[in-house]
C-alpha cells in the first residue's frame, strides 16, 4: 500500500515536472506588430513619460513590484517586504541569482544603485520629486534592500510598482550615456533589439530571463505613426496587428473589418475643468450650478463618440480601486443651475467666465470646450472658451491661482496612486494645487492618509477625503476616458492597464 502510494506520488510528481517542463519549453513564437501614435524619446524610466514607454519598460526591465492589468500590486523581484516598527525603514527581500541581459548581476547593490541614481539631483529625473519620500536606499548583503524613508509613506508599494521604479543597470548606463534610453539594459523578458528614432523599435526575448513572465513572442515590432488616419490604414491593410488610440470616427470602419475589432478597456484618465477658486467660483453655489449645467451623457455619447463615461468620483477607475469611492452621477439640471446662479446674486448675463482648453491633447477637447460654453450660456452665463496650443495651455494651467486671468482649465489626470493625486491637488498651498483649494480637514486627512500603512485605515481616510472634495466641487467633473485600440483577431491574451500600458505577458498569435 505504501509502495503504491509512493509510486502514485512519484507519478504525480513526474507528471507535474513534465507539465512544468512543457511550460518552460514553450518557445516564443510569432511577431506582434503594433502601430503607436506617440514617439517615445527615451525608455530610461527616470525620464519616460509616455504609455508606450511604460509598456517597453514593463517588458524590458523589472521592478521590485509591478501592476497587473487591473492595476493591483504584485511582487516581481521582491519576495518579501516589511516596515520597521517606527515606519521609517522599509525592507525588501529580493530574489537571488538574477542577471541583467548583459550578464551583470542584479543584486541588492544594483537595486540600491538604480534608486539612488533616480533620486540624485544631478540625474535630473522628472520623477525625483515623486519618489523623494524614499529617502536613501541601502543594500544589505546580496538579497536585502533598505529604504530609509525621508517621511513615513503608506503608499510605497504603489510607488515601487510603477514602471518609473524599474531597475536600471547603472553600470551599463554610465558606459552607454544617453544611448541607454534607446537600448536599456534590464532584466525583463524582452530586450530592445533595434531603435530607429521616429520610425520604430523592436523587442526580442531576453535569453537570460528567469522570472515568472517569460517571453511568448519571438519579436514585438513597434511602428510610430502619429497621424490617426495613416495608423488606422495600417490595421485595415493588415500591416499591423494592434493600433492604439482609435479615433471615434474610425471605430465603425475598424469594427467592420473581418480580421480586427476595436476593444475598449477602461482608462484611469479623468478629464475635468479645474476651477480657480476665487471671484465668482469661490462661491460653492456657482460651482454647483456649473456642474449641474453640463449634460455629461450628451458629451460622452455625442461628442466623444462613446470614448468616455461620465465622472462619478474624484479619480478615475483603476486608481487604487480598493480606496476609490464613487458617487451617484451628477444630474443634468439647467433649471436647478439657474436657480443657484440667482441665489448667488447674479442676474442672467451678469456673470462672465472664461476657460482654457488645449487642442489635440485630449479626445475632442476643443469641441467639448465649445459645448461647455453653450451649456453655460444656457443657464445665463457669458462664457468665453479659450482654445490654445499645447505650450500656452501648459503655461496657463500651471500658473499660480493668483496669476490666472481665466476661471477654469481643462486638465486630464492619471496617476496610479490615491495619495499622489489627492495630496498634490488638494493639500493647501502645495505647488501643484492650482485651484487654490484649501480645507483644514482635508489637509489633516491627507497627512494622516500618507502615513497610514493599514489598508482599512487608509480606506476610511481616503473615503472621507473623496466625500469632502466631491461635495466641495472644486472641479467641473467631466468624464473618464475610455481607451480604444484596434486589435487583429489573431492576437490573443493582450492586456491593457488602466494607465494605457500594454502588457505582453500572455500574448500569443493564432
Amino acid at each position: 500500500m505504501r509502495n503504491l502510494r509512493r509510486s502514485c506520488h512519484v507519478a504525480a510528481l513526474s507528471a507535474g515536472v513534465s507539465i512544468m517542463a512543457l511550460q518552460v519549453q514553450a518557445q516564443p513564437a510569432g511577431t506582434l506588430r503594433i502601430a503607436v501614435g506617440a514617439d517615445p524619446a527615451t525608455f530610461d524610466p527616470a525620464f519616460n513619460d509616455l504609455p508606450v514607454g511604460n509598456a517597453v519598460d514593463l517588458a524590458v526591465m523589472e521592478g521590485l513590484f509591478r501592476l497587473d492589468p487591473q492595476n493591483n500590486v504584485q511582487k516581481n523581484l521582491a519576495t518579501d517586504y516589511a516596515f520597521s516598527p517606527d515606519g521609517k525603514v522599509f525592507t525588501v527581500k529580493i530574489r537571488t541569482g538574477r542577471k541583467f541581459s548583459n550578464g551583470d548581476p542584479l543584486n541588492a547593490e544594483a537595486v540600491a544603485a538604480s534608486f539612488n541614481r533616480m533620486l540624485d539631483e544631478k540625474t535630473g529625473s522628472i520623477y525625483r520629486g515623486l519618489y523623494a519620500s524614499l529617502g536613501t536606499i541601502k543594500a544589505v548583503g546580496e538579497d536585502t534592500v533598505e529604504f530609509h524613508l525621508a517621511e513615513p509613506n503608506g503608499h510605497i508599494l504603489m510607488l515601487l510598482s510603477n514602471t518609473a521604479a524599474s531597475i536600471v543597470n547603472v553600470k551599463a548606463l554610465q558606459a552607454m550615456g544617453a544611448e541607454y534610453g534607446r537600448k536599456p539594459v534590464g532584466s525583463g523578458p524582452y530586450m530592445v533589439e533595434k531603435f530607429i528614432g521616429g520610425e520604430g523599435f523592436r523587442l526580442v526575448p531576453n535569453p537570460s530571463y528567469s522570472g515568472d513572465y517569460p517571453a511568448t513572442l519571438k519579436a514585438i515590432d513597434f511602428t510610430v505613426v502619429p497621424e490617426d488616419g495613416s495608423r488606422m490604414a495600417l490595421l485595415e491593410t493588415g500591416s499591423v496587428d494592434v493600433v492604439e488610440r482609435v479615433p471615434p470616427e474610425s471605430m465603425p470602419a475598424i469594427n467592420a473589418l473581418k480580421d480586427a475589432k476595436v476593444i475598449n478597456p477602461p482608462s484611469m484618465f479623468s478629464i475635468n475643468m479645474e476651477m480657480v477658486l476665487r471671484g465668482p467660483l469661490a462661491d460653492p453655489r456657482v460651482r454647483k450650478a456649473l456642474n449641474l449645467a453640463i449634460d455629461r451623457e450628451g458629451i460622452t455619447k455625442g461628442i466623444l463618440g462613446g470614448l468616455g463615461t461620465p465622472s462619478v468620483g474624484m479619480v478615475g477607475p483603476g486608481t487604487q480601486d480598493e480606496l476609490r469611492k464613487t458617487f451617484p452621477p451628477i444630474s443634468f439640471d439647467p433649471e436647478g443651475a439657474k436657480k443657484l446662479i440667482a441665489e448667488a446674486g447674479y442676474k442672467p448675463g451678469q456673470l462672465t467666465l472664461s476657460f482654457t482648453c488645449p487642442t489635440g491633447r485630449y479626445i475632442k477637447d476643443s469641441q467639448v470646450c465649445q459645448a461647455l460654453a453653450g451649456s453655460f450660456e444656457n443657464i445665463g452665463i457669458k462664457a468665453t472658451p479659450l482654445v490654445v496650443d499645447r505650450g500656452t495651455w501648459t503655461k496657463v494651467v500651471g500658473m499660480e491661482p493668483a496669476q490666472r486671468s481665466d476661471n477654469m482649465g481643462m486638465v486630464g489626470r492619471a496617476t496610479a496612486g490615491m495619495d499622489y493625486t489627492l495630496y498634490r491637488l488638494f493639500f493647501t498651498g502645495v505647488g501643484a494645487n492650482r485651484t487654490g483649494y484649501t480645507n483644514p480637514r482635508v489637509d489633516a486627512l491627507l497627512k494622516e492618509g500618507r502615513a497610514a500603512t493599514d489598508p482599512a485605515k487608509q480606506k476610511e481616510i481616503y473615503g472621507e477625503i473623496q466625500n469632502i472634495v466631491w461635495s466641495d466641487q472644486p472641479f467641473l467633473f467631466l468624464w473618464y476616458q475610455t481607451q480604444a485600440l484596434g486589435v487583429a483577431n489573431r492576437v490573443q491574451g493582450l492586456a491593457i492597464q488602466p494607465n494605457e500600458t500594454l502588457v505582453f505577458d500572455k500574448v500569443t498569435l493564432k
Binding site: 522628472i126 505613426v225 498634490r424
Partner: protein, 308 residues
C-alpha cells in the same frame, strides 16, 4: 571669387538667423521644465528640472552656449533624449532629403515634360487636360492628398505601404504626393516661357537650318525656359524642406520635419533651434547653387556680375 563673396555675405545672415531663432524659441509659450515635469509637478520639482536643463542661466550665457553647440556637439543636447542634437538631426536628415529631393526631381521632370507638351500644341486636348490637372495640383492641400493616396493605393488597392520608412516602397507615395505641387508649377512655367520664346528670331534660324520642331524646342528653346524654372526650383526646394513637416507626419516618415513638430510640442528648445538653423543654412546654400546654375544657363548674368 563670386562663390567666396556669396559665402561671405551668407555668414552675417546665418548669425542673424541664429539670434532670431534663439530669441523666438525662447518666446514660445510653455516652460520646457514644466512640460517635462507634467501637470501634477510641484514648483520645487519644476525648478529643479529647470536648473538641470540650465534654463535658469541668463539669456546671454544661454545664447553663448547655443553658439558653442554649433561646433561642440556635447554642448547641444536634446532636453528629452539627452543625445547630441547633431546626432538626432543626422539620423533624420536622410529621410527628409530623400522625400524632398525625390519630390522635386520628379516634379521637375514631370512638370517639364507636361510644359513641353502644352507648348507644342497650345489649346489642344493634352493642353486642356494638363491645365486642369495643374490647377488641381496647385490647389490641393498636401495633407488631404496624402490621406487620399493612402486610402486609394494602400487601403483599397494594396499596392504600397500606408506609413513608415523601412523599405524604398515606403517612399513612393510621399514622393508622388510632394511632387504634385512642383510638377504643376513647372509645367505652367515651362509652357508659358516656351510659348514666349517660340516666336524669337534665334529659333527661326534653327528652323531655317532644317531642324525638326521637336529638336528646336528641346535643344534651343528649352534651355532659356529652364532659367526661370531653376530659380523657382531653388525656392521650391526650400519650401519642400518646410513642407516636410506635413508629409512626414501623414506618412509616418521619421524625418527632420517630424522631429521638429515633436520638439515644438514638447518645448525641446535645442532641437528646435538647431533644426531651424540647419534649414536656414540649407536655404543659403540652395540660393547660392541656384544663382550659380542660373549663371551657367544664362551667360548674360555672368557679364552683369563682371560689370559690377
Amino acid at each position: 571669387m563670386f562663390v567666396l563673396k556669396r559665402l561671405g555675405s551668407a555668414l552675417p545672415t546665418l548669425f542673424a538667423v541664429s539670434l532670431l531663432v534663439f530669441l523666438f524659441v525662447d518666446l514660445i509659450p510653455g516652460d520646457p521644465a514644466q512640460i517635462l515635469a507634467g501637470p501634477t509637478a510641484s514648483n520645487e520639482e519644476i525648478e529643479s528640472i529647470r536648473k538641470f536643463l540650465g534654463l535658469n542661466e541668463p539669456l546671454l550665457t544661454r545664447y553663448g552656449q547655443f553658439l558653442r553647440g554649433i561646433w561642440d556637439p556635447s554642448a547641444a543636447t536634446s532636453f528629452r533624449t539627452h543625445r547630441p542634437v547633431v546626432v538626432e538631426l543626422s539620423e533624420r536628415l536622410p529621410n527628409t532629403l530623400i522625400v524632398s529631393i525625390g519630390g522635386l526631381a520628379l516634379g521637375l521632370v514631370v512638370g517639364t515634360i507636361a510644359g513641353i507638351v502644352c507648348a507644342m500644341r497650345p489649346g489642344g486636348l493634352a493642353d486642356a487636360a494638363i491645365t486642369v490637372l495643374t490647377l488641381a495640383g496647385i490647389s490641393m492641400p498636401i495633407y488631404w492628398l496624402g490621406l487620399l493616396c493612402i486610402w486609394l493605393f494602400a487601403v483599397n488597392l494594396g499596392w504600397l505601404p500606408a506609413a513608415g520608412a523601412s523599405t524604398p516602397a515606403h517612399f513612393v507615395l510621399p514622393i508622388l504626393v510632394i511632387a504634385t505641387r512642383p510638377a504643376a508649377m513647372f509645367s505652367r512655367l515651362v509652357a508659358t516661357s516656351l510659348l514666349e520664346s517660340m516666336g524669337k528670331d534665334y529659333l527661326d534660324t534653327a528652323r531655317a537650318k532644317g531642324l525638326s520642331e521637336t529638336r528646336v524646342v528641346l535643344f534651343h528653346a528649352l534651355r532659356n525656359s529652364l532659367i526661370a524654372a531653376v530659380s523657382v526650383a531653388g525656392v521650391q526646394f526650400g519650401g519642400m524642406l518646410g513642407g516636410s513637416v506635413v508629409t512626414e507626419t501623414v506618412f509616418g516618415i521619421p524625418g527632420v520635419g517630424r522631429l521638429l513638430v515633436d520638439a515644438v510640442s514638447r518645448a525641446d528648445y535645442p532641437v528646435i533651434q538647431y533644426a531651424i538653423l540647419m534649414f536656414a543654412f540649407f536655404f543659403v546654400i540652395i540660393n547660392l547653387v541656384t544663382d550659380l546654375l542660373t549663371q551657367w544657363l544664362d551667360p548674360r548674368t555672368r557679364d552683369q556680375e563682371r560689370a559690377i
